[in-house]
Amino acid sequence: MHAVEKILAKAAGKEKVVTGEIINCQVDLAEVNDIYLQTIRSFYEMGGKRVHEPKKITFILDHYAPASTIQQAENQKRMREFCREQGIELLFDVDQGVCHQVMVDHGLVYPGMVLVATDSHTTIHGAFGAFGTGVGATDLATIMITGKLWFRVPEIIRIQLVGKLPQGVFAKDVILKVIGDLKADYAVYKAVEFSGPLLKTLGIAERMTLCNMTTEMGAKTSYIQPDEITREFLQQKAKHKYEIFFSDASYPYAVEHSYNVSNLQPQLAAPHSVDNVHPLENYIGKPMDQAFLGSCTGGRVEDLAIAARILKGRKVHLGTRFIVVPASQGVLLEAMAKGYMQTLVEAGATFVTPGCAACLGTHQGILAAGETCISAASRNFPGRMGHPKAEIYVGSPAAVAAAAVEGRIADPAKYLD
């Protein structure tokens, strides 16, 4: 069996599972965010009275943090009340940030767990060897009532990463290249595992970016085998004892791909699909009205660090808005302590408090018709960040920072010598 199958088998109380089997799994942690009042509605519509295990449920108010309209405020208020009524202590309010980063910061994510959230980017937790998957409101409400959810055991695709990343090229460019090659529906219903020697050179933040964006190829979950880097990261953080599962050498992958990244160039996903990926150099000089640095994909300390390095002693280009959103309070505190926030704000960045912000087009950096934006987030669907006629280019945090300096798409490598 694969490690992912071993995780699922344990959660289902079975010795063995096979690809395609439908199993009912215990869920170790289920997360609800603040666009999902429907979760509470579905809970009551299904006859729910008390949450099955309040310790295994967390509410994180991130998509509307803090509320911009009365309706958003009402929804958040109802969620706080629900947590109080149900004895749910893991309520992270609007000061905390994007759910995935918040769960990691607070040590709630660990290898071998089953983590289900009302957010498609839950695949991110494969970076820790967890089974993370996104669902909708009614599935999450089912977990609140029963503690369990059904899954189909997925086929698993292996993507081997070898070589050394050139200057100015990052994990974000790698995953964009993969999605561009394999396309947006390549991994639907399947799991994606990353392996290979490149991973030894990638920290947790970059691994999270890889796993995060497997969602954009349709993946149900993703996986990176936990190693010393994972253990060291979790040593200070993890609040649970954990078990690391290993795949059997004989496990038959559905497909295997290999990427040598040594000659990879910076990549961009051009409008209006995340698999519309081309070398960044094809777009050099294209004017950008906005540069967006943030989200569960591109708002970590490492992302702010690279941006600060590029902006240090420079100014944001006149006429371009540079929106910076630390992914979490933890990220913000560290970025302040290290001086990154100071550098970015002095350079002319617009600071937004931790949360999802403009990534999903709800508030804090919405685009007008005809505007262009380069984004370190994950999506460039029509209308994703505002008007459907706005154009979004998805790239690495370094590419976003370079565009903020020049007011147009630029190669970040020249700022990193």
């Binding site: 498609s120 669902v135 009614t138 529906d185 209308g383």
Partner: protein, 168 residues
Amino acid sequence: MEKVIRGKAFIFGKNIDTDQIYPGRYLELTDPQEVGQHVMEGADPGFAKEFRPGDIIVASTNFGCGSSREHAAVALKAVGIGAILADSFGRIFYRNAINLGIPLLVCSHIRDRAKKGDMLKVDLTTGLVTNETTGATAQAQPLSDYVMMILESGGIKPLIRKQYGQRG
């Protein structure tokens, strides 16, 4: 649940994400009828006006990809979608729609066999799709027993209510 569905076809392309089915700026809405007013607005702003209950969406690959927002399925349910036929579906959308009792059928190249406004007949038991306007037919993958059970129960909510609703 009706096992045979008849409705007019609305045609969409590939990778219709849930942002297009239900744009992010309306995510704060919670009343299904209000949610339904914005159905498919990001892909076709005129859709809600033209759509009649029972009508059928026909799409290419990866319909419902992207964000997990259940609003997408709630909106389609609220306006009375008859069925959705596509080459493939985004997985979270698939679960959300089936949970709400919306019939989703995987039907290869269906988009080549229907034009906007054609009258389609879908037999959920056999998976046979008939274009009554042109006479063309297509065979969808039959629904699994598990999915059929959920649909026949009117979605997952009545099922869970029956199994667990008395607890606590």
